[in-house]
């Protein structure tokens, strides 16, 4: 049962990712990428990481996807189609894949069975975030505030003339 579910989710996710990379129409590619995002969220649910799965759905499908489709909307269609095959992309893809594969295979914890951990509740995540990881949290907050102010400054430029 679990294996079948894993297989189905994996196939859907990979198919979505593949379609996102190959479909000719950008908007279709973007929607397929969203399918891949949802598939990843399903994996998180499958692993019992409910919170992470929901946040994946929230951030990627709710926010990043809207950002992507708006980017497509605001750019022109068919701006100089690439006439020859892009070998650079393949090199980068293979390099990234090789690097990740090497890192995964080198990780010792993959081989050993995971110990029983208590279910990760939202409460525990909150506690850990505000105790052990409070500095990274503050830094992320600062970074996001800076990005927000930056975006506002960019928009205000128009009014100053």
């Amino acid at each position: 049962m679990n294996n079948a579910a894993f297989l189905v989710i994996a196939i859907v996710t990979l198919a979505g990712a593949l379609a996102a990379a190959t479909l000719p129409k950008l908007i279709h590619a973007a929607l397929c990428l969203i399918v891949a995002f949802v598939g990843l969220a399903a994996f998180f649910f499958f692993l019992g990481a409910e919170f992470v799965g929901l946040v994946q759905l929230f951030v990627y499908v709710g926010a990043v996807a809207v950002l992507i489709v708006f980017t497509i909307l605001l750019t022109r269609r068919d701006v100089g189609k690439p006439d020859k095959f892009n070998w650079g992309g393949i090199v980068v893809a293979v390099a990234v894949f090789g690097g990740l594969l090497w890192a995964i295979l080198k990780t010792p914890s993959v081989a050993i069975a995971a110990a029983q951990i208590p279910p990760l509740t939202v409460k525990r995540i909150g506690e850990v975030l505000l105790t052990n990881y409070v500095w990274p949290l503050q830094c992320v907050g600062l970074l996001l505030t800076a990005a927000l102010i930056g975006a506002l400054v960019l928009v205000m430029e128009e009014k100053r003339r």
Partner: protein
């Protein structure tokens, strides 16, 4: 609680148990699937009925407000109007524009209806009556709800029509803007309860002072403010007057629904109402005590009746507002979100914290009222442009 009251309260749970008991001996996964299917069937049955009922009631109430009869031809008091509407929608021609993106045009209504139905699943409709009880229910609601924007975009893009695209852009702009106050006003409730599960939130609002004042969050200053902000945001999220600019008939035909006809249009319509039910249901859960009775003496009335009574009051307010207020301009809507709603929503978080650290009693009540009042007065002073009924200036016209 008496035995008979208990029986009535749990009658649907018992009915489900009885249905499942017919399957005894079946494998575990079959039981799970059957249990989910029963929940889904009940949810769809109840809300499709409510949708039919509210669509005719809305027209009746609007008719009353506008001094006319409203639908009164089909059946007694026009009550069978939704049946006639449904048949009409089903037999209408399904028109797909020649230059439309066929796949996306087809996908959008399905996606929007699916998300609306999914969000209904996490709301507790009565004692032990949450169809899909998960730990992060509130988060699930917003995570799934945020995909509505994507569906609206697909509808606008797939139609290949400028009115559709403009409507979709407006819808996304206002939905993204108002999602912030919507989510931030739920934050104080989550903070005070310490859980993201709707059941825990309802349970935390149990209890009465002197037997008549319920411990609902709306009775605290921060809760009342958050509820009002949440309600306004929910008007926007469900594209209702005065925030129905995305489908402003006088400007952009019907927004993202311009190119839809027949049953696809009906799906959009249904999704809009389901979204309204879901967000009102969440407001009831978060601030109005969910299925809890308003005074201790009325606890014998079954919990689900209380839930639907509160939901009915909120839905009536939605209709009332639609009959009363004119449509606002898109720039007014956006400015209101960022300049007023968002700061007030953050204030609610602070006021809730103050309430908590002052011991959740009378002192906390007064202190949080002071916080809300100071920020409200400050904002009113700060946002007052002093332009009172000045001659209207046009930037692009004339």
């Amino acid at each position: 609680m008496t035995m008979s009251g208990d029986f009535l309260d749990q009658i649907f749970i018992s009915a489900k148990q009885w249905l499942l008991s017919l399957l005894t001996g079946a494998p575990d996964w079959l039981m799970q699937v059957a249990s989910s299917l029963i929940n889904i069937a009940a949810l769809l049955g109840v809300f499709l009925t409510l949708f039919a009922l509210i669509s005719v009631l809305e027209r009746k109430i609007l008719g009353r407000i506008q001094n006319r009869y409203g639908p009164n031809r089909v059946g007694p008091f026009g009550l069978f109007q939704p049946v006639a509407d449904g048949i009409k929608m089903l037999i209408k021609e399904d028109i797909v524009p020649a230059r439309a993106d066929k796949l996306l045009h087809f996908l959008a209504p399905i996606m929007i209806a699916a998300t609306a139905i999914l969000t209904l699943g996490v709301i507790p409709y009565g004692r032990n009556m949450t169809p899909f009880a998960i730990d992060g229910g509130i988060l699930f609601f917003f995570a799934v709800g945020s995909t509505t924007e994507l569906a609206v975009f697909i509808a606008g893009w797939g139609s290949n029509n400028k009115f559709s695209m403009l409507g979709a852009m407006r819808a996304i702009a206002q939905m993204v803007s108002y999602e912030l106050p919507l989510i931030i006003t739920t934050l104080p409730v989550v903070m005070v309860v310490g859980a993201l599960s709707p059941d825990a939130i309802v349970a935390a609002q149990n209890g009465y002072t002197f037997g008549i004042v319920p411990h609902w969050f709306v009775t605290t200053p921060w809760g009342a403010t958050a509820f009002l902000l949440f309600f306004v945001s929910s008007l926007v999220e469900s594209n209702r007057t005065p925030f129905d600019v995305p489908e402003g008939e006088s400007e952009i035909v019907a927004g993202h629904m311009t190119e839809y006809s027949g049953f696809k249009y009906a799906l959009f319509f249904m999704a809009e109402y389901f979204g309204m039910f879901a967000v009102s249901g969440l407001a009831v859960t978060l601030f109005l005590g969910g299925w809890q009775a308003p005074i201790a003496g009325l606890q014998f009335i079954p919990s689900y009746l209380w839930f639907f009574a509160k939901l009915g009051v909120l839905l009536f307010t939605f209709i009332w507002i639609r009959g009363t207020l004119p449509r606002s301009r898109i720039d007014q809507v956006m400015a209101f979100a960022w300049k007023f709603m968002l700061p007030m929503a953050f204030t609610c978080v602070v006021a809730a914290a103050v309430w908590h650290y002052q011991g959740r009693g009378v002192a906390g009540w007064l202190w949080s009222l002071a916080v809300v009042a100071i920020v409200y007065l400050g904002l009113s002073w700060f946002l007052d442009t002093g332009k009172k009924f000045a001659t209207r200036t046009y930037r692009f016209a004339e």
